[in-house]
């Protein structure tokens, strides 16, 4: 089931992006989604992994999980409010 949910998530690749574009591009992508839809964002910038989820939670979105996939690679799953 978890795999199915993952497949349904919309993917956003933000490798190579730094603050503030990591947050801005995530927010813009979320605006294209309907409430309840899931977005999975890939970052390779460590400060973004801490700050983007915190900022999104402040905006009312739900952070479903943060998974480290490599030395400098993270995947953050977000449910749109």
């Amino acid at each position: 089931m978890q795999d199915l949910v993952r497949k349904m998530a919309i993917e956003l690749d933000l490798k190579g992006e730094v603050c503030p574009y990591t947050f801005v591009k995530t927010k813009l992508k979320l605006e294209e989604l309907d409430s309840g839809e899931e977005l999975a964002v890939t970052f390779d910038h460590a400060p973004a992994v801490e700050n983007v989820p915190r900022s999104l939670k402040n905006e009312g979105h739900k952070i479903l999980g943060i998974e480290q996939q490599g030395d400098h690679l993270w995947r953050v799953r977000i449910r749109k409010a």
Partner: protein
């Protein structure tokens, strides 16, 4: 009153002493103070006066990207945030002063 301060210059600039003095005076009069440090302003987190300000209830955040670029290590009591935090401060306060 809520006061927001943006500081973008390094500690040797006179802006640092001005920000410290304004923040102390504002806190002594009961005002809320939030400071955001970016660009070379992130170097200010190593000044003991800024640690004292956090002890007096001043909220201090730095741009984590600018700190990382300048090899600045974390300091307890100071948020390593982003421009989102700067925007929140600017949106939340009654007066916002920029020192750059």
């Amino acid at each position: 009153m809520k006061l927001g301060i943006l500081l973008t210059t390094s500690p040797e600039n006179e802006n640092t002493n001005t920000v410290i003095a304004i923040s102390r005076a504002a806190r002594e009069q009961g005002h809320e103070v939030s400071i955001f440090l970016m660009y070379d302003g992130v170097y200010n987190i190593h000044k003991k006066e800024f640690a004292e300000l956090t002890g007096k209830g001043v909220n201090i955040a730095v741009c984590a990207l600018n700190a990382e670029q300048r090899k600045i290590g974390r300091v307890e009591g100071i948020l390593f945030g982003s421009q989102y935090d700067n925007a929140c401060i600017a949106n939340d306060v009654d007066r916002f002063i920029s020192f750059g």
